[in-house]
């Protein structure tokens, strides 16, 4: 039978939760910005949560970005961040693209335009 590319990764991402993640808040979106409040992690926090706090000690990041940096599924980062928000170590802010817009009235590039640019770039390959 074919063994294929299947192999067992050494550290699975569910380990981040250490079994005990039951956040009360769960409104985080992948683009929600996370910002550290400066409260240090407690002893009960898992290595994954501590790494998340470490990562955010340099500034705000979106949930998706933290997931990419930590090499974790976004859903796990949402769980971890929600728990840390509960514990007061993190603060969630408006999703980044909105925050990045200089002001509410400034028009953002339309999806159509972005798609055209993407197509152009892809056709260059």
């Amino acid at each position: 039978m074919s063994r294929g590319p299947a192999r067992r990764r050494m550290v699975p991402s569910y380990l981040a939760a250490q079994g005990g993640v039951t956040p009360t808040v769960f409104s985080l979106q992948p683009l929600t910005a996370l910002r550290a409040t400066g409260l240090p992690p407690g002893p009960a926090h898992t290595p994954g949560q501590q790494r998340l706090l470490d990562l955010l000690s340099g500034g705000a990041l979106s949930v998706s970005e933290t997931a990419a940096y930590l090499d974790l599924p976004v859903s796990m980062c949402r769980l971890l961040a929600a728990q840390l928000i509960d514990d007061g170590c993190l603060r969630a802010e408006v999703p980044l693209p909105d925050a990045l817009a200089p002001d509410e009235t400034a028009p953002r590039p339309s999806a159509g335009l972005l798609k055209e640019v993407l197509n152009g770039l892809l056709s260059l390959r």
Partner: protein, 481 residues
């Protein structure tokens, strides 16, 4: 007629003589007869004695045979399985030949029972090994699917996300059991790994167990970049997993299992697993030590491991003996339970490449030399505390500035020249970008690139000529808007 009486007298005398002689004869023959009778009687009593002793011997032999069949043979069969069952000796050791024959029967029986036992066990092991290999491969595939699902599910309900993670965990536990069975049956751990951080190996082992959240790992390694050679990464993970599982199993559900990583002066790294359980009985320690030593791993029979077979220590022993690390069990932990120590000699250790990133979840990453970017921003201008960052974000009005700031929090965001030499390889962002770029960028064909740029230039040229030749209506229209 005077002759008649003479004759008669003569006859009478003769008769008397004859009679006397006859009487003497008779007397002699009677005594002879009596003598023979005595002899016969003696003979008879002698032969009666012989018959008696023969009967007694016969009875002894019969008893000996009965003893052989009813007591010694069954005991010998049991003795083959375990030396705990002694084989009784012969009833009458003075019957030397019978005792010898009996012993040879027993030896023959023991030999053939042992042989068939090994044959049956070997085929059971082969069957289990074959089945495990296939199941293992399928479980790895299942794991890949589950991981894909986790990665795709960005904004599902938390309950569903949690189910994905639980499925993953269940799958890992099944994989561990299957893998363990395969190893005890002489299979290999099922995969080749690259060199791996020791902390990752420990966390990986931890992740495969039910109740892994009770395991607390502390790393006291002087160098957090200590790794193990790829060939022992998986075997170590399996062995550590089994030892931790044992610790979890033998301690109460609310007790922690402490795992410590430390390096001795000789360079040997030890992973110490301490539980606070009830400890092991002397018998269990003796047995466990024999198993984890892996000395008689080739003679190991599944049937010796109990029902259901206790595979953990046996798997540990095989792996340790095959891959050159050492396992000790049976010491008393500081918490009153059992201590298990895995010693990894320096020749199995390696220092990981600077480019390798340790998993964010690996044990001991929160130890004093924390993740690289925390130690990196030594310069005050670089260390952006929450307040500082907020100021920066607000003052930098342009989206570009704001987006670049949070995009590189992992290290010095503006390249800080002095610290760069050490810090650069540790920057996750850079690595990630490099990895992603590396894959598609490598097969660049110069001719194809030239063709692409040629087309681009042609396009630009034709666009310009169109603009020059054609009307300016488009531009003017744009202006009017």
């Amino acid at each position: 007629m005077s002759s008649i009486p003479e004759t008669a007298a003569g006859i009478l005398g003769g008769t008397t003589l004859v009679g006397a002689a006859g009487a003497a004869l008779l007397a002699r023959s009677r005594s002879a007869l009596r003598g023979r009778l005595r002899e016969r009687t003696a003979e008879l009593s002698r032969s009666e004695l012989d018959v008696g002793s023969a009967q007694a011997k016969y009875a002894q032999l019969l008893a000996e045979l009965r003893h052989l069949v009813t007591n010694r043979l069954p005991a010998q069969v049991q003795n083959v399985e375990s030396s705990r069952f002694p084989v009784p000796g012969p009833l009458h050791p003075d019957l030397a030949e019978a005792a010898e024959l009996g012993q040879s029967v027993l030896d023959l029986l023991a030999g053939s029972v042992e042989k068939s036992r090994r044959r049956v066990d070997a085929s059971a092991q082969a069957a289990l090994r074959g089945a495990s290999t296939d199941i293992q491969a399928l479980l790895f595939q299942l794991q890949t699917r589950i991981t894909e699902l986790q990665m795709k599910a960005e904004s599902v309900e938390p309950d569903i996300a949690r189910v994905f993670f639980e499925m993953d965990h269940l799958n890992e536990q099944v994989a561990r059991r299957v893998q363990r069975a395969a190893i005890v049956c002489g299979g290999w751990p099922g995969m080749v790994r690259p060199d791996t951080f020791l902390s990752e190996v420990v966390s990986g082992a931890q992740s495969r167990l039910a109740g892994y959240e009770r395991i607390k790992v502390t790393s006291q390694l002087p160098d957090p970049r200590t790794g193990v050679a790829g060939r022992v990464a998986e075997p170590l993970a399996v062995a550590l997993g089994e030892l931790m599982a044992n610790a979890l199993e033998h301690s109460r559900d609310d007790l922690e299992v402490q795992v410590a990583l430390m390096q001795g002066d000789s360079g040997t790294v030890s992973v110490v697993v301490d539980d606070a359980g009830t400890g092991m009985t002397p018998e269990a320690i003796r047995r466990g030590r024999r198993l984890v030593s892996g000395e008689d791993r080739e003679d190991l029979l599944l049937t010796e491991l109990g029902d259901p077979p206790a595979l953990g220590f046996a798997a540990c022993g095989r792996l340790a003996a095959d891959h050159g690390f050492r396992i000790e069990i049976g010491q008393v932990s500081p918490y009153g339970g059992t201590r298990a120590v895995v010693s990894i000699p320096p020749d199995l250790l390696t220092e990981m490449d600077e480019e390798e990133q340790m998993s964010a979840l690996a044990a001991g990453t929160a130890a004093p030399p924390r993740s690289p970017h925390v130690t990196a921003p030594a310069g005050p201008e670089d260390f952006a505390g929450p307040g500082a960052r907020e100021d920066g974000g607000e003052s930098a009005g342009s989206p570009a500035a704001a987006s670049s700031a949070p995009a590189e929090p992992a290290s010095s965001s503006e390249p800080a020249p002095p610290a760069d030499a050490n810090d650069l390889p540790q920057r996750r962002r850079r690595n990630r970008a490099a990895q992603e770029a590396a894959a598609p960028a490598r097969p660049v064909d110069p001719d194809r690139a030239a063709a692409v740029w040629d087309q681009f230039q042609q396009g630009v040229r034709s666009g310009r000529s169109d603009g020059e030749d054609g009307d300016n209506s488009e531009n003017s229209g744009e202006d009017e808007k």
